[in-house]
C-alpha cells in the first residue's frame, strides 16, 4: 500500500452516515476545547474518544499510526522541552549529583513539565486525528454540499474535492521522482544537509512542471464535463436539506457542553490545572 492509498480510505459505518454539519460541529468542539483545558485527564479522554471513534469508523490502525508517526519528532521535542524548562515545573524527576562540575545540582525534567508536555501533544493530535476522522468518513460530494449549505461559496467548497483528488496524484509523482533519483544512485539518506538540499531542490523542477501539466489536463476534463463553478446545479444524492431531530439534538448537546466547559473553566477554573 502506498502513502497515497491510505489517503483514499473511505470508510462506511454509522459515524460516516452522520450529516457533515454535525461532524463539523464536533470537529470545532474538539479543536477548541483542547485549548480551553489544561487538564491532561480531560485532554486524554478527548484523545481516547477521538481514536475510539476512528476505530469505530473502521479507520485502519496503520493510518492512525502514520499520522502519529508524522508528528512524533515534534511531539517528543515538545515533551522534552516542557519537561526541562516548563515554568510549571516544581518536582524534579531527578537531580544531577552536586559533585558534577558546572551542572551539579541542576534538576533534569520536572513532573509537571512532562505532564504539561503531554497535554500539549494532545493539542496537536486531537485536531489532527479529528480532521482525518471527519474528512475521511465523509464523501467529497457531501463535504461540498455541507459547506455550500453553510454559505461557503461553491467554488471554494469544490477546492476541497479537487484537492482530495490532487494530493494523491502529487504524492505519487513525488515518490516517482524520489525513486528516479535513488535509481540513479543518489542516496539521500547518506548525504549531508547541503547535498540533500541540492538534490531535493532539483526534485521541485519535474514536480512543478508535472503538476502544472496535470492541473491543466484536469481543468480541460472539468470543462469538458460542463463544469463552470456555478452553484446552480443538481445533485445525484441531494441528501437531507434538513437535519434529523437526532442530529439537531447532537448539535445542541455539543454546543451546550462546549459553552458549559468554557463557563466552568473561566468561572470555576475547572480543567485549568494539568492534574
Amino acid at each position: 500500500m502506498t502513502a497515497a492509498d491510505s489517503l483514499l480510505q473511505l470508510s462506511a459505518g454509522r459515524f460516516a452516515a452522520i450529516d457533515f454539519r454535525v461532524k463539523l460541529v464536533f470537529l470545532l468542539l474538539a479543536s477548541t476545547l483542547i485549548f480551553v483545558w489544561n487538564s491532561l485527564i480531560a485532554q486524554g479522554l478527548l484523545l481516547a474518544v477521538t481514536i475510539a471513534l476512528m476505530l469505530a469508523a473502521a479507520t485502519p490502525l496503520a493510518t492512525i499510526w502514520r499520522l502519529i508517526r508524522l508528528t512524533l519528532p515534534a511531539l517528543i521535542l515538545i515533551v522534552v522541552i516542557q519537561g526541562l524548562w516548563s515554568p510549571f515545573g516544581v518536582h524534579p524527576v531527578f537531580t544531577l549529583p552536586d559533585s558534577l562540575p558546572l551542572l551539579g545540582g541542576a534538576h533534569v525534567f520536572t513532573v509537571e513539565g512532562l505532564l504539561f508536555g503531554l497535554a500539549v501533544c494532545c493539542r496537536i493530535l486531537v485536531p489532527l486525528l479529528a480532521f482525518q476522522l471527519v474528512f475521511m468518513t465523509t464523501e467529497t460530494n457531501d463535504i461540498v454540499l455541507g459547506l455550500t449549505r453553510l454559505r461557503v461559496p461553491y467554488r471554494v467548497a469544490l477546492l476541497f474535492s479537487t484537492t482530495f483528488r490532487f494530493v494523491p496524484l502529487l504524492l505519487e509523482e513525488f515518490q516517482a521522482i524520489k525513486d528516479a533519483q535513488r535509481l540513479r544512485g543518489i542516496d539521500l539518506d547518506s548525504f549531508g544537509m547541503v547535498r540533500k538540499l541540492v538534490a531535493m531542490g532539483r526534485m521541485l523542477v519535474p514536480l512543478i512542471t508535472g503538476s502544472l501539466a496535470k492541473a491543466q489536463a484536469m481543468e480541460i476534463a472539468l470543462q469538458s464535463r460542463a463544469f463552470t463553478g456555478s452553484p446552480d446545479r443538481t445533485q445525484l444524492h441531494p441528501g437531507r436539506e434538513k437535519l434529523t431531530g437526532m442530529e439537531r439534538a447532537m448539535i445542541l448537546i455539543a454546543l451546550l457542553f462546549w459553552a458549559a466547559a468554557i463557563v466552568a473553566r473561566i468561572g470555576f477554573g475547572m480543567g485549568g490545572s494539568v492534574l
Partner: protein, 589 residues
C-alpha cells in the same frame, strides 16, 4: 473533403459535425496545429483518426467541444459546427451535453471520489433533475459493465475499468457523439480490447457517433467505419478503413503503423507482385482470402535449420522463488523463478497487475521479497548500497523524459556522479561516454526543457548510463508512443545490447519485438507462465492466450497456415514472412 466511400446508399444520414476551412495555431506557436480542414461527419459513423504524434489529432478532438480555441486562445480560422452550433459561439459547458469527451490519462480526467459520483458530475453541472440523473447514471454504468461498483473509489479500478468509467460519464449525457483522444494508449491488451468492444457496441446498438484518435491500428481496422489520416494538421486521406489502413505505403510515409497483417501482405506482395501493390487486407478475417494467390509460394519455401546461439553469460539478474505480499494482503508475486544472463535482450510481458512491475521493483530493491532471494550480479540485492546498485542496473521509467532535474544536458548526465562526489576525471569520462552512446554530444549545453520528447528520453537514458551499469531495465517505454517513437526506443535498446549491455524490456506491444528481443518472458497472476526464445513463446498459441496476450497478427496468420509454424520457419514479423517466399524477378512478371 467528404468520405470517398463508406456510405453509398441514397439516404445519407444527417451531418453531425462540419469543419469548414478550419485552421488553428496555439498561442505563440508559429506552426498551425490544424491547417485547412474541410470535412463532414455524419450521425452514426465510427470515425478513427490516425496520424503520428504531433500531427493535430488531439487538437482536432478538442475543437469538437470548443476547448480549442475557447480554453487555449490562439488563432482560429474557419467554422466548426456540431448539430448546427458554432463552437466559437457556444459555451463549452453547453457543447458538453452534445459531445462527450474521453481523454488519454485516466488519472487526470476522473474528478470524483466514487464511481457513481464521477458519472453524475457532468449531469449535476447540467442541472439534470435528480430522478432522471439516477436513472441515467445507473443505465450508463450498466452499459459499460460497471454496475455494482457504484460506491467504489475510482482509484481502485483497473486501467480498463477507469477508461470505461470515463466512457460511462460521457454516455450518461446521452450525447450525440463521444470523442476519445487516445483512450487506450495507457492500457494493456485486455483493457484495450474492452474499450474498443464497448465503443463498437455503443455505435452499433445505440447509433452513437464515435470519433476516436488512436495508434491502435488493428483495433480501428476491426471496428471503424471511416478513417481519417492526419499529417501536418491536414487530412491526407479520408475513406473506408480498407482504403486507408490497407494503403501500407501511404501510412508508412506518414509514420503511421499499418495493421500487422496489412504490413505482412504488403511485404509478401512486394516480392511476388512487383509494381503497384494492391490494397492490403486489414483484418485477420480478410487475410486468408487475400493471401490465397500466394499459397503456392509459401508451400515451396524450404525450412531453414534453426540456428540459435544459446546465451552463455553468467546470470546477472536472478529471482529465486520470489513471493511478495503487499501489506493489504495482495499476493503480487507467487514464487517467481527467473534468471537473465549477461548480454541477453529479454522482453517481459503480461497484462497489468500480473506482477511485472512488482518483480522489477525487487530487482531495483525498491521492494523486498516476502520469501525468496533476488540477486544482482550474483549478490543478494539486500546487501547492495543504493549507489552500488545504480552502478549495476540502470532503470528507465515510462515517463523518464519528465524526470529531468538540471539546467543543461551535460549537468543532467553528471548530476548523480557529482552528488556522489566522484573524481572529476571519472565524471568527465562517464559523461562523454553516455552522451556519445545516446548521440547527444552536440546538445551537451542545451537546456533539457528545450529538447524534443525523443531527445529528452535519450537524455534520461544517458543519465542512467553515466554510473556505468551493465544492465538496463526499460519499463514500458513504448506505452503512449507513436510508431516512430516506439521504434526509436527499441533501436536504442538494441544498440545498447550490441555494446554488451543486458537489456530487460517491459512492454505490451508484442508486435514490436521481432528483430529486437531474443527471449520473451510472460507473467500472469504473479507467476512466470512462459519463458523462452521469442518465436517459441509467440507461437505457443493457447498458452499465450491464457495469459491474456495475443501474438502479432503475422504470427496468428502464419500459425493458421500449414507448415509455417514449424521451428526454423515461424515468421515473427511481416518482413520475416516475406523472406519465406522466393522473390519473383522483374522479368518473370
Amino acid at each position: 473533403m467528404t468520405a470517398e466511400d463508406g456510405q453509398t446508399s441514397d439516404e445519407r444520414p444527417e451531418p453531425l459535425v462540419t469543419f469548414e476551412r478550419v485552421g488553428y495555431a496555439y498561442p505563440g506557436a508559429s506552426r498551425r496545429a490544424l491547417d485547412g480542414l474541410d470535412m463532414t461527419i455524419f450521425r452514426g459513423e465510427f470515425v478513427g483518426i490516425v496520424g503520428a504524434t504531433g500531427v493535430g489529432k488531439s487538437t482536432l478532438c478538442l475543437t469538437l467541444n470548443g476547448i480549442v480555441p475557447q480554453f487555449f486562445g490562439g488563432s482560429f480560422f474557419g467554422t466548426v459546427r456540431i448539430t448546427g452550433h458554432d463552437t466559437l459561439e457556444t459555451a463549452t459547458s453547453r457543447l458538453a451535453a452534445t459531445v462527450g469527451m474521453v481523454f488519454e490519462d485516466p488519472e487526470t480526467q476522473i474528478t470524483a471520489t466514487t464511481v457513481e459520483g464521477e458519472v453524475a458530475f457532468a449531469l449535476e453541472n447540467l442541472k439534470v433533475p435528480t430522478e432522471l440523473m439516477q436513472v441515467r447514471v445507473a443505465e450508463a454504468l450498466r452499459a459499460v459493465g460497471l454496475a455494482g461498483l457504484e460506491r467504489k473509489h475510482p482509484a481502485r479500478l483497473s486501467g480498463g475499468q477507469k477508461q470505461r468509467l470515463a466512457i460511462a460519464s460521457a454516455l450518461a449525457l446521452a450525447p450525440d457523439c463521444i470523442v476519445l483522444d487516445e483512450p487506450t494508449s495507457q492500457l494493456d491488451p485486455v483493457g484495450t480490447a474492452e474499450v474498443f468492444a464497448l465503443l463498437s457496441r455503443l455505435n452499433r446498438e445505440r447509433g452513437i457517433t464515435i470519433i476516436v484518435a488512436s495508434h491502435a491500428s488493428e483495433e480501428l481496422a476491426a471496428v471503424a467505419s471511416r478513417i481519417l489520416l492526419l499529417s501536418g494538421g491536414r487530412i491526407i486521406r479520408d475513406g473506408a478503413p480498407g482504403a486507408v489502413l490497407g494503403d501500407v505505403a501511404l501510412l508508412k510515409t506518414h509514420d503511421v503503423r499499418p495493421p500487422d497483417i496489412a504490413q505482412a501482405y504488403a511485404a509478401v506482395a512486394a516480392r511476388l507482385m512487383p509494381g503497384t501493390p494492391p490494397l492490403a487486407p486489414i483484418t485477420l478475417g480478410d487475410a486468408s482470402e487475400a493471401f490465397a494467390p500466394f499459397a503456392e509460394a509459401f508451400a515451396a519455401a524450404a525450412p531453414e535449420p534453426a540456428s540459435r546461439p544459446s546465451p552463455t553469460g553468467a546470470p546477472v539478474l536472478e529471482a529465486i522463488g520470489v513471493s511478495h505480499v503487499y501489506p493489504d494482503g495482495t499476493a503480487a508475486l507467487r514464487g517467481v523463478d527467473l534468471s537473465i544472463r549477461r548480454g541477453e535482450f529479454v522482453a517481459l510481458a503480461g497484462r497489468n497487475g500480473c506482477g511485472k512491475s512488482t518483480l522489477i521493483r525487487h530487482f531495483l530493491h525498491l521492494l523486498s521479497p516476502t520469501t525468496g532471494t533476488v540477486r544482482v550480479d550474483g549478490i543478494d540485492v539486500a546487501g547492495l548500497k543504493i549507489s552500488d546498485l545504480a552502478r549495476r542496473i540502470g532503470y528507465v521509467a515510462q515517463n523518464a523524459h519528465q524526470l529531468l532535474f538540471c539546467d543543461s544536458v551535460r549537468e543532467e548526465v553528471a548530476f548523480a556522479l557529482t552528488l556522489m562526489k566522484r573524481p572529476k576525471g571519472e565524471i568527465d569520462a562517464a559523461v562523454q561516454f553516455a552522451l556519445g552512446a545516446m548521440r547527444l554530444s552536440d546538445l551537451a549545453d542545451r537546456h533539457p526543457a528545450s529538447l524534443s520528447r525523443g531527445d529528452r528520453l535519450r537524455l534520461a537514458i544517458a543519465a542512467t548510463l553515466a554510473p556505468g551499469p551493465d544492465m538496463l531495465i526499460f519499463d514500458e517505454p513504448t506505452t503512449g508512443q507513436d510508431w516512430a517513437g516506439a521504434l526509436a526506443i527499441l533501436d536504442i535498446c538494441r544498440s545498447l545490447n550490441a555494446i554488451g549491455k543486458t537489456v530487460l524490456l517491459v512492454t505490451h506491444h508484442l508486435y514490436l519485438l521481432a528483430g529486437y528481443a531474443d527471449r520473451l518472458v510472460v507473467m500472469a497472476q504473479g507467476r512466470v507462465v512462459l519463458d523462452g526464445p521469442l518465436d517459441e513463446v509467440l507461437y505457443s498459441g493457447p498458452a499465450l492466450a491464457a495469459a491474456s496476450l495475443a501474438p502479432p497478427q503475422t504470427v496468428s496468420f502464419a500459425a493458421s497456415l500449414d507448415g509455417l509454424a514449424t521451428p526454423g520457419r515461424r515468421p515473427l514479423s511481416p518482413s520475416a514472412l516475406a523472406a519465406l517466399v522466393e522473390p519473383v524477378g522483374e522479368g518473370a512478371r
